[in-house]
């Protein structure tokens, strides 16, 4: 088991290099570059720029170099921890990405926590109180939760909050704390705002997890070891929580592997709709504006988060299930 994890950690850099090539090619693939869209923007705004100026800028930004040279510049920078320079914002990418990345990860982790805190007890209740009113209510919520796209839910919530309550639930901070340095007050402000996007982001995952938990637990509740535990004289709740729930949760742990990456990439949509400081909207703009180093770096970060998410899930699974820990994968 340890060997497996070490293997995965060793492959990580190779995967990242491979992905960096794919990613860089993707952002370079369409014809034109940042200056092309910059000129187009100027034109639609009514101003223009001289041809020689464009060429000079092109040379200054290194956009006239062949692709592999630009790639190597980028890789060299990455290895030094420098994520490149944003052509649009005229600032180092690490500055732009920095805090947004932290908030992206925080949002994803928050949604993840909400998902598990809600789904597991609800799933346990549904399985042990089959066909009760609450079970049907949960089932209904599950179906609707899975069917509703993230951004739709965000839109509806924002509309209701705005039209009927007059409040604006976008953003992660109140205006006062937006640009302020980190402090306890800022943290509390964050918590006050993060739960709405967290719920929106996590609803689909919660619905799915709840149904799987219910199904798994229903399977386990009929197994012989449950009868043995009951025959020992354990109280019903104690034995349900200690035995079948433990076993029903195991397969769920492997879902973390795709859930965390889903949350990272899904947060992109929710962040765009709700105007959150998140690397998602930044990527969207970078892609449409052809700000290649910025979009490339963000994409690579997403890849990194995805791989890490899968690895974390495998480690957790090994921790939780001794059968996997001891017999290898």
């Amino acid at each position: 088991m340890l060997r497996f994890i070490v293997q995965r950690l060793l492959i990580l850099p190779i995967l990242l290099v491979l992905f960096s090539i794919i990613v860089f090619w993707l952002v370079q693939a369409p014809p034109g570059d940042f200056l092309t869209s910059y000129v187009a923007n100027l034109a639609s705004g009514g101003s223009s720029i001289q041809e020689e100026q464009v060429e000079a800028l092109r040379h200054q930004f290194g956009l006239d170099q062949p692709m592999y040279i630009r790639y190597l510049y980028w890789m060299r920078g990455l290895l030094k921890g420098d994520l490149g320079y944003s052509l649009e914002y005229q600032r180092p990418n690490s500055e732009l990405i920095g805090e947004r990345l932290v908030l992206t990860v925080l949002l994803a982790l928050f949604a993840f926590a909400i998902t598990w805190i809600v789904a597991v007890p609800a799933g346990i209740y549904s399985a042990t109180h089959q066909n009760s009113l609450l079970d049907y209510a949960f089932a209904l919520l599950n179906y609707i939760g899975v069917a509703t796209p993230n951004f739709m839910l965000a839109l509806i919530l924002m509309w209701i909050a705005f039209a009927y309550l007059g409040i604006n639930i976008t953003g992660l901070f109140s205006p006062a704390y937006e640009q302020a340095p980190w402090s306890l007050g800022r943290l509390i402000d964050l918590l006050k705002h993060i739960w709405v996007p967290g719920i929106v982001l996590g609803i689909a995952g919660t619905a799915r997890l709840m149904r799987v938990m219910r199904a798994n637990l229903l399977d386990e509740l009929n197994k012989p070891y449950v009868v043995t535990a009951r025959a020992k004289g354990m109280s019903e709740w104690a034995l349900v929580l200690k035995y079948p729930v433990r076993l029903a949760i195991n397969p769920l742990v492997s879902t973390i592997g795709w859930m965390l990456p889903q949350l990272f990439s899904g947060s992109l949509i929710v962040a765009t709709v709700m105007n959150l400081p998140n690397i998602g909207p930044l990527l969207l703009r970078a892609l449409t504006q052809r700000d290649m180093y910025l979009s490339g770096s963000i994409l690579l970060i997403y890849c990194f988060l995805t791989i890490i998410g899968t690895l974390v899930s495998d480690i957790l699974l090994a921790l939780v299930d001794p059968r996997i820990r001891m017999e290898g994968v």
Binding site: P224, Y225, T228, K232, G233
Partner: protein, 343 residues
């Protein structure tokens, strides 16, 4: 049943029904028997006859939608002062403190499938120690000592190591022994062994039976042995009860039942056992027909559609009651009396 000693367990007219959407399944429909201290009591019958449900009812672990709808389950308990007190288990709350203190301590279960009767993610020791600590006033270390002793008693080598292993790391035979160890860990006065030899091979079967016999004699525990294997009954039990479709058809001392069975069903069962002494090239007798669907129980005596001695007009209308025939045998058949079951 007419012995002067108070029986350890007395089941009186137990009825356990399952309320399903499609109808009511009368899994146990009026079962009466006594088990004495130290006795090995066998319950035998085909699949679906209700023997497992009877056992589960005694332990009060019948799953919903099953319910005990009638009858008494009288357990003879020794209170702390040493007096004898009789408790009706049927009246207790199945998940209540009193029943739970009896379950596992006074009455213990040796479950049917040793392969899957342990949780695969908890160590064997963890589960045995839990059983001990549920009923005995010891701390974890003391419980561990008791668990170790139990493993030694059932003949598991290297018990220290085994305690910290998982059930799937043990062989089938060792797992079976560990399950028995767990059942015996609180010194129950009544053991219920639910088909303990069905899921194991013949060699292990012999070992398990020998182990159970030794343990039973050492501790003077009563065992209710549930099985469909008549050979095992002949080996182990001193008293046997034959069930069919939720009713008792015959019960009595093993010798009487095997050599002088009264009920046509018992006779047919015994005839259908292949034996070394049977005449070669003669067709093995079987019981004609098949077990009816639980929703389609026949009127009158449950066995009459398959009975060669069935009396039309009587057996297909009224259900015979369980009454003594001879000194210690009881049978429910109109061939021997004319009393029907009270409605």
């Amino acid at each position: 049943m007419n012995t002067p000693i108070q029986p350890l367990l007395s089941v009186r007219d137990l009825k356990t029904y399952f309320m399903m959407d499609e109808g009511v399944v009368k899994a146990v429909d009026g079962v009466t028997f006594d088990v004495n201290s130290g006795q090995v009591f066998g319950i035998v019958g085909e699949s679906g006859c209700g023997k497992s449900v009877t056992m589960k009812a005694v332990l009060r672990i019948v799953e919903p939608p099953g319910k005990i709808v009638h009858g008494e389950i009288l357990l003879n308990c020794k209170t702390k002062d040493g007096d004898c007190q009789v408790i009706d288990l049927a009246k207790l709350d199945a998940n209540g403190k009193e029943m739970r203190s009896i379950r596992g301590a006074e009455i213990a279960l040796i479950p049917q499938e040793p392969m899957s009767s342990f949780s695969p993610v908890h160590t064997v020791g963890d589960q045995i120690i839990e059983a001990i600590m549920l009923h005995q006033p010891v701390d974890k270390r003391g419980a561990r000592q008791i668990a170790l002793q139990m493993l030694k008693d059932v003949g598991i080598p290297m018990p220290e190591q085994r305690l910290d292993e998982y059930s799937w790391q043990l062989s089938g035979g060792l797992r079976q022994r560990a399950i028995i160890a767990m059942a015996l860990s609180c010194n129950p006065r009544l053991l219920i062994a639910d088909e303990p030899t069905t899921a194991v091979d013949v060699t292990t079967q012999a070992q398990v039976l020998r182990l159970l016999r030794n343990l039973q004699q050492q501790r003077n525990a009563a065992i209710i042995f549930i099985t469909h294997d008549l050979g095992v009954i002949a080996q182990m039990a001193s008293y046997v009860m034959v069930m069919y479709l939720g009713l008792v058809v015959e019960q009595g001392p093993v010798d009487d039942i095997f050599h002088a069975s009264k009920h046509p069903y018992t006779q047919a069962l015994l005839r259908s056992i292949p034996s070394v002494n049977s005449t070669p090239r003669v067709e093995l007798p079987t019981i004609s027909g098949s077990i009816p669907h639980p929703f389609n129980k026949p009127k009158g005596c449950p066995f009459h559609p398959r009975c060669v001695k069935s009396m039309p007009g009587k057996c297909d209308v009224r259900t015979p009651a369980l009454l003594p025939v001879g000194e210690k045998q009881w049978v429910s058949c109109f061939l021997y009396h004319d009393v029907e079951v009270a409605a």
